[in-house]
């Protein structure tokens, strides 16, 4: 089986509300794909459609080329963590994994293996209802790993995790991708995906805004942006804006300029005798790049998307 998730043209309405509006992307094996977008963008809905829990009005979702509902031992094809709180509180963590294992024809030995993998050995006999959110996330990971699936899909797995847990989770996700599995991880906090995701599917209002590798996105966001440090901010802004640059004040004495190469900026400032202490290439964080993308998705579509494709073509 191909370790992929292929989502194509998904549309889904909840009453009058259009939750998915032509959602289309593919999750490739061997990398962590970040699935990001603001609240209500349709990430969870997409995942539910992939798992056959919600029916899409239009479009298809395939896992390894097959609809999820046709899979016989689905947990050995896809491991999913939708909602870590989806537990019977009075059932012990181990028993939760046990019934799941039984439903797939797996044994208690496999249960113990995933418990170890998720680092839950010391707490598995406790009632799941007493688990902290972070512990529940680990339990959810253990459940997702039961069938040793080539495809993993997790909805906000970093939620409620302490810094140590986040570090562990990042390493874990990276190692899964390293084993050649396809890993889709949703988040609305870009910072969580920094150093974790290789690829990003950015969504807004039910459709994909950007489907790009993290490297490309970062360079696109940083590429023609320049940071200028100056004590005479307003003069500098006037001069550069006049020359056609987009200028933003990003600090008390810093400006971020796009639309002009660095040498032109230096020349312009020199010609106009505006003092400046530093001109440097801007290094965008993933967060910044993402904010840029989702700031106004309509505007984005017109300009930035075109931009990225051009960039990629170059």
């Amino acid at each position: 089986m191909e370790a992929t998730i292929e989502v194509s043209g998904l549309r889904k309405k909840f009453g009058p509300h259009l939750a998915l509006n032509g959602m289309t992307f593919t999750v490739e094996p061997g990398q962590v794909t970040g699935f990001v977008g603001p609240n209500g963008a349709g990430k969870s809905t997409t995942m539910r459609v992939v798992l056959g829990l919600d029916a899409a009005d239009e479009g298809t979702a395939l896992v390894g080329g097959q609809p999820y509902a046709s899979l016989r031992h689905p947990l050995s094809h896809v491991g999913a963590l939708l909602d870590a709180a989806a537990l019977q509180p009075s059932r012990s963590a181990r028993n939760h994994l046990l019934w799941l294992a039984h439903s797939q024809g797996l044994t208690a030995r496999r249960v113990d293996a995933v418990i170890e993998q998720a680092g839950l050995e010391s707490v598995v006999r406790r009632k799941a209802g007493g688990f902290s959110l972070g512990m529940r996330q680990r339990l959810g990971i253990a459940a997702a790993m039961l069938g040793d699936p080539p495809v993993l899909m997790m909805d906000e797995p970093f939620n409620g995790m302490d810094p140590e847990g986040i570090v562990w989770m990042r390493g874990f996700l990276r190692s899964l991708a390293g084993q050649g599995r396809a890993v889709l991880v949703s988040s609305h906090l870009m910072s969580e995906l920094q150093d974790t995701a290789d690829h990003l599917v950015v969504v807004g209002r039910g459709k994909v805004i950007a489907d790009t590798s993290v490297r490309e996105l970062l360079s696109a966001a940083s590429r023609d942006r320049i940071t200028v440090r100056t004590t005479t901010r307003s003069e500098a802004m006037t001069v550069l804006a006049h020359a056609g640059a987009t200028v933003a004040a990003t600090g008390r004495d810093t400006l971020t300029i796009s639309g002009l190469p660095a040498d032109r900026v230096v020349a312009l400032l020199g010609e106009s005798a505006v003092p400046f202490s530093e001109v440097s290439a801007h290094h965008a964080s993933l967060e910044e790049a993402y904010m840029e993308l989702t700031k106004d998705e309509v505007e984005f579509r017109a300009a930035a998307a075109e931009d990225t494709t051009e960039e990629a073509a170059r």
Partner: protein, 534 residues
Amino acid sequence: MTASTVTQYRPAQRPGRDGFAQLLRAEWTKFRTVRAWVIGLVIAVLVMIGVGLFGASAGGSSCQAVSGGPVRTGGACAPTFPAGPGGEPVTDSFYFVRQPLAGNGSITVRISSLTGLLPPANPGPVATDTRPGLVPWAKAGIIIKESTRPGSAYAAMMVTADHGVRLQNDFTGDTKGQPGAVTTTSPRWLRLTRSGDTVTGFDSADGTHWTQVGTVHLSGLATTVQAGLFATSPEYSVISQNFGGGGGGSILPSQATAVFDHVGRSGTWPASAWSGGYIGAAGGSGIGKYHQASGRFTVTGSGDIAPIVAGSGNSGDPGKTITDHLVGTFAGLIAVIVVATLFITAEYRRDLIRTTLTATPRRGRVLAAKAIVISSVTFVAGLVAAAAGVIIGAQVSHARGSLVFPVSWLTEVRVIAGTAALVAVAAVLALALGTVLRRSAAAVTIVIVAIVLPYILGVASILPVGASEWLLRITPAAAFAIQQAAVQYPQVNALYTPTSGYFPLAPWAGLAVLCGYAALALILATIMLRRRDV
């Protein structure tokens, strides 16, 4: 990094077998790992037994003996009833004009009238006089009886007030002969022929053309038996049929008088003369006499030759049926309904249903597995509770000196296994409704209102009998009919109401009503589960 450079992941974990058995196992694991549910079922069992025991020990009127019996001292009092050949308690009191019959032979009579006296119409403080009239099952005729011991085997041909000619034997046997009432212008000829342990009954309108009514076997009948004429008349009961109150009526003796204007015999009758006497405990109803003049006999008697029925409308039930020991079923059922509903609604409450349906996308199978698991565990719980209830209840009733109506083992198995089935099917109904509604409180309420409430309304003396019976016909509570142990005898007039333990539907028909509801709910649940987003 592109997809083509990536080595695809090859799972080390081999998928297990795919089968329904695994799904059953998973659902069973789910069930047994929530302690509250297991405890809930244990509580259901205990409540069923406990409330049933209360039912066994309730009712202090068991001292009231129908045919009059010795009263034991020491708190508990035991009515003593003669036991019929089948072991069932019987009434065997009548006036008997008899002679021994040695070996084979026959007796033939002509009856020219059957009249009687009924108790006062308004038995108030000012007693009015008795009035002429007959109760429907007033009876007189000829009888061949093993001995004069009450409860001994017999066969009798008789005329009755409202039910024509009958051939009756051993208290429960009843065969119809010529219809119509007997009058001087339309007398009845009756004949009994004994050959070994076989007795054949005939009737005739003219003494020439005889019709065989039936043949009965009185196994092990002694060579010499008692044979002759009899008359008896059941108690007259004024029962308010509007409301299902058990003892809501006055029960007073009535009497019947028959004129036999021809008596013929064949065979060996060693005695030289007839002797008259009252059979059965004399008590208050031991009215009887006979008069013989020029071959014409006038026999008057009071009482009955019939099985005693549970809840016969007498001032106290003569005894308990095993149904009485299972009155806790409705209470246990409440716990079962809660557990069965939670088996699915708890998953909806926590969205665990998503995990379940992710693990098994074939949703119909999930529901089927859940239904099988919940019905199996509740069946076992019901079986344990019903068996224990019947066994312990019998002991408690015996210890308290009340009679427990004996039932055949087949009936006992039907009642116990049927109770378990009732509990199991109710659990499936609750599960299905829980699936449809996805809310615990709503589903539990509806199922309790559908099963437990109509049962309570039906068997308690709350509603008119007609309304009670309709409730127990059309609601899922009809299934309680499976618990009926009391036998309804057409030849005994009694209060056959739900309150007395008589359900309007036959046992399996009643259970089938519940099964129908459960099946409908399950179909609806399957459709909705398949269609809905979760």
